[in-house]
Amino acid sequence: MAKYLLLKHYRGAPAAVNDVPMSQWTPEEISAHVQYMNDFAARLETTGEFVDGQALAPEGTFVRYDGEGRPPVTDGPFAETKDLIAGWMVIDVDSYERAVELAGELSAAPGAGGKPIHEWLELRPFLTASPTITECH
């Protein structure tokens, strides 16, 4: 009963084993990949472990407060930003081991040549609510 965020990176993760950009796959390979991702999410729903999954546009804007009475300042996107998130999935599982198992399965999604991408996914635990019993200080 712990929630984990599975993060997929456009940029910032170590290179995948089968590291061919999607634009160079065949259309069938792309379809197979999309199907695999959908099946994965659907299967997690049936096991009662799915919480949320979203994909993000690669280009975003940086925003910051610019003082009282002024509109927020916007900037970017910055080409030099090292870490770029492509999307996420949130799972609710019984153990860290199970989270790792699922991340491994997701990383096996097929890519170029129909072979697993072996993509590096980042697994981050949610900070939980405070447990009621925390003896003793």
């Binding site: 009963m1 929630k3 729903e45 049936t46 096991t47 009662g48 472990e49 799915f50 919480v51 949320d52 609710d92 599982v93 019984d94 635990p125 900070l127 939980t128 609510a129 405070s130 447990p131 009621t132 019993i133 925390t134 003896e135 003793c136 200080h137």
Partner: protein
């Protein structure tokens, strides 16, 4: 309408359906439907006999979904014959065992217990655990399938039930459904169904922690450590009740983990001020607990207690014997170093512990501790 009364009838009604021959999964759905119907109908037309009403409606719903006509006729005949068995505490107990069956994962056992014993809806359980309703529905139906072959009259293991209830209680106070209160209600109900010192021990433990609830959180949502809590806000009625339950359990001389934990909580509750805490006795209880559970967390908490009873140096010595990868090891070390007067080390360790905290309130608390030491005025 009293929702708690309605929900408290859930296990009895479900037990009656199963005893009449309905399979557990279908009976459980039928009881949920009957509860929904009761919420709709009762406010305008309250039944004279709520339990009888629920049994009749749930049984009808069960029959409606049972397709085999022959079987249906046979069962209907039986309904006419039988006014329904008397409520049986055994049925309630069997339901607890079934919902905490060892074949279930902890999260499945928790979800099934809250629905089939607690009478909560799937939506309420999903909200409490912050997952989509569809996910929780699947979790519950898988759990029901997992236990579908289990015989209802098989004796179960009380320890597994207690672990499930402990998990529900410890989930805390978030969400619309108050899981702590629900866990206490379910544990009280279990204590009424079975005479077992560890059930009493867990109930006492829950009540003692629940009694401190109002004082645990600062107005800004931050965690207030036990030593700094406003003890005038502790619920003395709950504490008295818990102590009585615990003493009766301890008198039976079958000590277990929950009784020992409750004994420690009771010693804290008994101290009018933090300085008056009987740490020597608390260390003794931690020694008992370490014998019972072999849990490294217990030994970690014991090191804190030793630090209070025999001084920070003794606490640090006890801590040195433990694996420093343990969760909260750094936090305990920070605390003991501060007590020992080594404020620079304590500040560094508090910050490090904050980075390792697994829950938000604890992280914020540890960050504040580091900040307090880092910004203190010299002298």
């Amino acid at each position: 309408m009293n929702e708690l009364l309605l929900r408290s009838l859930t296990p009895t009604v479900l037990g009656i359906l199963v005893r009449r021959g309905a399979d557990f999964a279908a009976a459980e759905d039928a009881v949920q439907d009957a509860l929904v119907e009761a919420v709709r109908v009762w406010p305008a037309d309250p039944p004279r006999d709520p339990k009888g009403w629920l049994v009749t409606v749930a049984w009808r719903k069960f029959l409606d979904t049972t397709r085999a006509d022959a079987a249906r006729r046979r069962r209907e005949d039986r309904v006419d014959e039988e006014p329904g068995p008397a409520p049986s505490m055994d049925d309630t107990l069997q339901l607890y065992f079934l919902c905490a069956h060892p074949s279930l994962t902890p999260s499945s056992a928790v979800a099934l217990t809250l629905r089939a014993v607690g009478g909560l809806t799937t939506r309420q359980i999903a909200q409490a655990y912050l997952v989509p309703e569809a996910t929780m529905a699947q979790r519950i139906s898988r759990a029901k399938r997992s236990v579908s072959g289990v015989r209802f009259d098989q004796p179960g293991d009380v320890a597994t039930v207690l672990r499930v209830l402990y998990l529900v209680f410890n989930e805390g106070y978030s969400g619309d459904v108050d899981l702590a209160t629900e866990a206490i209600r379910l544990t009280r109900q279990l204590a009424a169904a079975i005479d077992h010192p560890e059930v009493a021990g867990l109930l006492a433990l829950m009540l003692l922690h629940h009694a401190r609830r109002a004082s645990r959180t600062a107005p800004d949502g931050g965690l207030v450590p036990l030593a700094e809590q406003d003890r005038s806000r502790w619920d003395t009625g709950l504490i008295a009740e818990a102590v009585e339950i615990l003493q009766a359990a301890l008198a039976r001389d079958r000590l277990g983990e929950f009784q020992a934990q409750a004994a420690i909580a009771a010693l804290h509750a008994d101290a009018p001020a933090a300085e008056e805490t009987d740490w020597v006795q608390i260390v003794e209880w931690y020694d008992e607990l370490a014998r019972l559970t072999d849990s490294p967390i217990v030994r970690l908490n014991r090191a804190v207690a030793v630090g209070e009873a025999d001084g920070a140096r003794a606490g640090l010595a006890a801590l040195a014997e433990l694996d420093d990868d343990l969760p909260r090891h750094t936090a305990v070390s920070a605390y003991l170093h501060e007590r020992d007067g080594d404020l620079a080390t304590a500040a560094r360790l508090y910050a490090e512990a904050a980075g390792r905290a697994t829950n938000l309130a604890e992280r914020d608390h540890l960050t504040r501790q580091a900040a307090r030491l880092n910004t203190r005025r010299p002298g």
